[in-house]
């Protein structure tokens, strides 16, 4: 890793200061070393599925280690199940949690944006101040590559992604409800790799189900940059037989959006009119990981040690969750949760001078195909020559209400595992 110079560190952190102030945070109170380190300390950047889990499990592994979690949002909103908020099957409240559970585990949660990372000095910049760490966990999730779609960056208020669950989820649901019967809903899927491979196809099911019930003359046009449905392919194809209102177009990458003309343009030059558009932008690792040069040659994702999730580029920095690449795992909440635990165990061992054990993640992934039935894919992994390799992938034989019930049990349990 190229060591970040002090000037660069301060310059980068200035951007974060602005964000902190705009966000109404108390960044002005954070000057210099605003929480001097008195014990071994882990600073976690990002309180999503991977970061929150890592923070909790370091404390479970060794309560003498101080853990500080930096997360600007005061609430954890689950991306899994957020597609059901679009269709009205669930409420946003039912997938929203606070961070009090982590505090009960002794995690110090600070609702501020970490604006820069300086691995050479072992510091994380927050506002005008900084925190020192022994080890950092970087879990910033994904950032959108707005610049790859013409017209997108300047129209973020009108062209919604709803790919980070929260206000946009609600706003897209409202746009869909306000759409006239007979209207066209366009869903644009970015090229892999992106957060939650089956997510767009589950979203297609939920939108199509809603339209079938409430706007039977409406149509869902799916413009997929990929050559085919990239996850649970046969199961989604089977589910879509119930949705003649879906017009699926593979290998159709959206390269331009024009909200004035209510039109998107594909890389073939085809123009598609819409009444409501849901444009899921191309993605890369969260900004702090890119700015700290934790990303690899692709400049998008972070390569890591498969056993400890240490960055391939920076010492004492672990990267977990959707920002990572190189493991044969999907960018899913369940995998991020598993990575958070494996990294936490590794960190606890390393801070105690011990060799970390060899542990591997697992992935359980449910997709709802209507208001009561779901499908699932399950992957487990082992370690071979220091690398994560898949043991098996298994899919449900079909869609069923029983699988949907299992998904509810999974959700309740894993939400509790992450922030409970």
């Amino acid at each position: 890793m190229k060591a970040m110079g002090r000037r660069e560190f301060l310059r980068t952190s200035g951007i974060g200061l602005g964000v902190g102030l705009l966000g109404g945070g108390c960044a002005t109170a954070m000057k210099g070393d605003f929480a001097p380190k008195t014990a071994r300390r882990v600073v976690v950047v990002g309180g999503g599925w991977g970061g929150a889990t890592a923070a909790k499990y370091v404390r479970l592994g060794d309560p003498t280690i101080e853990v500080i979690l930096l997360e600007p949002n005061r609430q954890f909103v689950s991306c899994p199940f957020s597609n059901l908020v679009l269709s009205g099957v669930r409420t946003l409240d039912s997938i929203t949690f606070d961070y009090s559970g982590l505090r009960r585990h002794g995690v110090r949660v600070i609702h501020e944006m970490a604006s820069a990372l300086d691995p050479a000095a072992r510091r994380v910049r927050v506002g005008e101040g900084y925190l020192e760490y022994d080890r950092a966990v970087v879990a910033p999730g994904v950032e959108f590559q707005w610049e790859l779609v013409e017209g997108l960056a300047e129209n973020q208020d009108k062209v919604l992604h709803a790919w980070k669950a929260g206000p946009q989820t609600q706003a897209l649901a409202e746009q869909m409800r306000a759409m006239p019967d007979g209207g066209v809903f366009v869903l644009s899927i970015p090229p892999a790799a992106y957060r939650c491979p089956p997510g767009p196809y589950e979203r297609a099911c939920q939108v199509a189900w809603y339209l079938k019930q409430s706007k039977p003359r409406s149509k869902l046009v799916i413009l997929d940059a990929n050559q085919n449905i990239i996850s649970k392919t046969a199961l989604f194809r089977a589910a879509w037989r119930e949705y003649p209102n879906i017009d699926y177009r593979a290998s159709n990458k959206v390269v331009k959006v024009d909200p004035g003309a209510r039109e998107v343009t594909t890389d073939f030059g085809d123009k598609v009119k819409y009444d409501v558009v849901n444009l899921i932008p191309p993605q890369r690792a969260g900004t702090i990981a890119v700015q700290a040069d934790l990303v690899g040659a692709d400049k998008r994702w972070c390569e890591v040690n498969h056993l400890t999730f240490e960055s391939a580029k920076a010492p004492n920095v672990h990267v977990v969750g959707d920002s990572t690449i190189g493991l044969p795992v999907p960018k899913s909440g369940n995998v991020a949760n598993a990575m958070g635990k494996v990294a936490a165990v590794a960190i606890v061992h390393q801070l105690n001078g011990k060799q970390p054990p060899q542990l591997a993640p697992g992935n359980t992934c449910y997709s709802w195909v209507n208001d009561r039935e779901a499908i699932a894919v399950v992957n487990t992994y082992r370690i071979e020559n220091g690398k994560v390799v898949q043991i098996e992938q298994k899919l449900t034989p079909g869609q069923s209400a029983a699988v949907a019930q299992n998904s509810l049990g999974w959700a309740r349990s894993i939400w509790n595992d992450v922030v409970g």
Binding site: V345, P361, T364, E392, T396, Q405, L408, S413
Partner: protein, 194 residues
């Protein structure tokens, strides 16, 4: 003072990773299980069983049956193979050594009362409080989540749990005689046994 220091040193030495509850090999390996089955096997969900307190030999049989496909489950077959890969004995000893806290899923007391009255045929094998028979690997039902218990009854009824296993013929016949409502009542009762 020397005695105090001595005890502190012993405690420190006993702690591989630093005095937390993840110090045993089983505890660390079982972290993958906690996504669905809760930390330390205390499932928070309704459909996943509580693993804490399972007899090690029962745990190992369940894992072997899931891994071989004898007990079909999309979710559990890959995970069972992973458990075997990493060493089932560590998991079995870990979960077996934990005390089962009863499920926090609330049930209707009236339904539980009906379930208790309907539980007579179950007592023959599972005992008066559903505590099971360890020697025969008949599981302890008390305090498990009601959704899990009902699901298993339905799987038995449909011959989808260990299909064709002659040792389960009696329970499958019994389940065929029960309505969905009675199964719900039985699940409410056994999950509420303390």
């Amino acid at each position: 003072m020397q005695v105090v220091i001595g005890i502190a040193l012993v405690l420190a030495a006993a702690s591989v990773a630093g005095a937390g509850p993840l110090d045993t090999p089983g505890a660390m390996k079982a972290l993958n299980c906690s996504a669905c089955h809760g930390f330390a096997g205390q499932s928070a969900g309704d459909t996943m069983p509580i693993l804490a307190g399972l007899w090690p030999e029962y745990f190992k049989k369940a894992i072997a049956d899931y891994a071989s496909g004898k007990r079909p489950s999309t979710e559990m077959e890959p995970y069972a193979k992973q458990v075997i890969q990493f060493g089932v004995d560590d998991y079995a000893v870990y979960f077996g050594g934990l005390k089962r806290e009863p499920t926090k899923i609330a049930v209707d007391a009236t339904a539980a009362g009906r379930g208790r009255a309907a539980a007579q045929p179950c007592v023959i094998c599972h005992g008066p409080d559903g505590r099971g028979d360890r020697a025969k690997l008949i599981p302890d039902l008390a305090g498990q989540p009601p959704g899990y218990l009902k699901n298993q009854m339905m799987l038995f009824r449909e011959d989808k749990r260990s299909p064709g296993d002659p040792s389960l013929k009696a329970i499958k016949e019994l389940m065929k005689s029960l309505s969905d409502d009675t199964m719900s009542d039985l699940a409410a009762y056994y999950s509420s046994v303390r």
